[in-house]
């Protein structure tokens, strides 16, 4: 049981720790003026006042808000600034579907109270965290500017310095590919080509050398298995199927898998070539990711993960070729070492 103070009224709620404030307000208090959009802090529809300051009610668990004053759009009925904003929103057609409006109003009120008379550029900067799916920003900005203009300017802050524009170095355009993400990686192996190929041409041995991989079925070209990878506190375990193709010191695996709502499709192409001391393994990884993991992750971060995995795979392959057991556990320290040494 927690006690929330919402719009000056105490509300006692029996809600689990995982309930965020937006759900507690809507479902627990019946205050449906607070809208829920993205639930990851991007859209701003759920913005309310906590301790008098705008906050994302989706990024704050209800238990955290216990004992703190919470003000929703319903609580701003008699607020003079909100009243002026409502009239201005109406005059300037600053809402169409109205979904973003409660969050817009809370943010707009904060802009007016905190910054006073501000120019349009600053209003747009401050509004960056509130998305209007109707794209009706012109009216919203005009409405806020009108109300702000009637207030004294905030104590003159020094103009914000901006970094000057400089030309970007020319970069070759990325080739159009079916799988949008692509990483190329090269590993030098201390074992000669025939010994390395004896492992690389056998999916079971490859899986044994690849940290996080488990092969559960291998019939002809068909592979089934699971792959688990971690990046800090985030980890994903994809289960799926793939096809294996193998040629002259080169091969590929194309597969697809799922981890809950996340789906991945990918291809690993590898080729082995002789070198003066041992051999050289070239790997091209291309993939498409959909689901929450794709929403969150920036593909660039995976480059480091792949570099770390490839390094561990190569060392395991060398051990395996020497008849030693591979180190199977995905070691975060090995990943870190790969990160630190790759520059």
């Amino acid at each position: 049981m927690i006690a929330l103070t919402v719009n000056g009224e105490e509300r006692r709620l029996d809600t689990p720790a995982r309930t965020h404030l937006a759900d507690a307000l809507r479902d627990g208090c019946g205050l449906t003026g607070t809208h829920i959009g993205c639930e990851q802090g991007v859209c701003g529809a759920c913005t309310v006042l906590v301790d008098g300051k705008p906050a994302r009610s989706c990024l704050l668990y209800a238990h955290e808000a216990a004992g703190k004053p919470v003000t929703t759009i319903e609580g701003l009925d008699d607020d003079p600034v909100a009243e002026a904003l409502r009239a201005a929103f109406s005059r300037h057609h600053a809402l169409q579907c109205g979904y973003c409006t409660p969050g817009m109003m809370v943010t707009a009120r904060d802009i007016v109270l905190r910054l006073g008379a501000v120019d349009e550029a600053r209003i747009r900067e401050e509004l960056a965290g509130n998305l209007c799916r109707c794209t009706g920003y012109r009216g919203i900005v005009r409405a806020i500017a009108e109300v702000a203009a009637n207030r004294p300017a905030a104590p003159a802050a020094a103009p914000r310095r901006e970094a000057p524009k400089v030309a970007a170095p020319a970069q070759a355009p990325a080739p159009a590919v079916e799988l949008p993400n692509r990483i190329e990686h090269r590993e030098t192996l201390s074992v000669p080509l025939p010994a390395a190929w004896a492992i690389l041409s056998d999916p079971a041995k490859v899986a044994a050398c690849l940290p996080g991989a488990v092969l559960t079925r291998h019939e002809g070209a068909l592979l089934e298995g699971r792959f688990t990878a971690s990046l800090g506190p985030i980890s994903a375990s994809f289960a799926g199927q793939g096809e294996w193709a193998c040629g002259e010191h080169a091969g590929s695996v194309r597969g697809r898998g799922r981890d809950g709502a996340n789906a991945a499709e990918g291809m690993v192409e590898f080729s082995l070539s002789p070198a003066a001391q041992g051999s050289v393994l070239d790997v091209v990884l291309s993939w498409r990711l959909t689901g929450p993991l794709a929403q969150f992750s920036r593909p660039a971060l995976l480059r480091g993960l792949v570099a770390g995995l490839a390094d561990q795979f190569a060392r395991n392959l060398e051990r395996s070729a020497r008849g030693e057991a591979p180190a199977k556990r995905l070691s975060i320290w090995a990943l870190i070492r790969a990160w630190l040494t790759r520059r």
């Binding site: 970007a168 969150f296 920036r298 790759r342």
Partner: protein, 238 residues
């Protein structure tokens, strides 16, 4: 999406916090502005959220001749608004205003951002540029960690299991110091695609898929980071 189930454990003393954090699956919660999105997306599923933001000292600010000690739960908005003393000639306030959105800055904390250790975040790179020191507490007592040793890999810090961040010590920049900061992102408030920082005698490239890099020359970094650092240097030297 909604987060997976967890227990919420607000703590009031450091001892209670460290004891709660020693449990399997426990994770400290400060502002939660990076943690809650990953939890709502179910990318992170802690068993226990140990709310450390009300611990004594976590919001304490101490100014000395050498610099400023900021409790880990000081918010970005407080730094933006000048509610904490300025020892960096306006640099940190400028950076704070560019972090996410005001509603996020009102709750997000400097310590939480450093512990989340996203390479695209502002503070990890800024702390390296400023030569800051992290004050961590664990079962073995307090220890100091230099900012350049802090981020070991994306989302991985030098904190040992069971340790937490208490405060950050920021050395004072000489009065009148000039600085430059360039953040390249697709939209105001979005994650940075590249960060460039130029302080007196210091250049740092951030958001480079890896821990921030202290540079001697603008080379060996991704092209966009080179643009960011070049812009930051031009801003400092303008």
């Amino acid at each position: 999406m909604k987060p997976a189930s967890f227990d919420y454990a607000p703590v009031e003393t450091l001892g209670a916090a460290l004891s709660a954090l020693s449990a399997q699956g426990a994770k400290p919660l400060a502002g939660g502005q990076s943690l809650a999105p990953t939890m709502n997306l179910r990318l992170v599923r802690p068993r226990v959220l140990v709310d450390v933001k009300a611990l004594p000292g976590m919001r304490e600010v101490t100014e000395t001749a050498a610099g400023l000690r900021l409790g880990a739960a000081v918010t970005h908005a407080e730094i933006e608004d000048g509610a904490v003393p300025d020892v960096t000639c306006g640099f940190m306030a400028h950076v704070a205003r560019g972090i996410a959105y005001r509603a996020v800055r009102n709750r997000g904390t400097i310590g939480g951002s450093l512990c989340h250790a996203d390479p695209a975040a502002d503070w990890p790179s800024c702390m390296v540029a400023l030569g800051a020191t992290m004050i961590a507490a664990g079962p073995g007592g307090e220890r100091r960690i230099a900012a350049r040793d802090w981020m070991r890999a994306p989302f991985v810090t030098a904190l040992a299991p069971g340790e937490m961040l208490l405060a950050v010590e920021i050395p004072r920049l000489p009065p009148g110091s000039r600085w430059g900061y360039a953040k390249i992102n697709r939209k105001v408030g979005e994650f940075a695609s590249a960060l460039g920082i130029a302080l007196p005698g210091v250049m740092v490239a951030g958001a480079i898929e890896a821990p921030p890099a202290l540079l001697h020359a603008i080379e060996g970094i991704p092209p966009l980071a080179a643009v960011a650092v070049t812009r930051a240097v031009a801003m400092r030297d303008a």
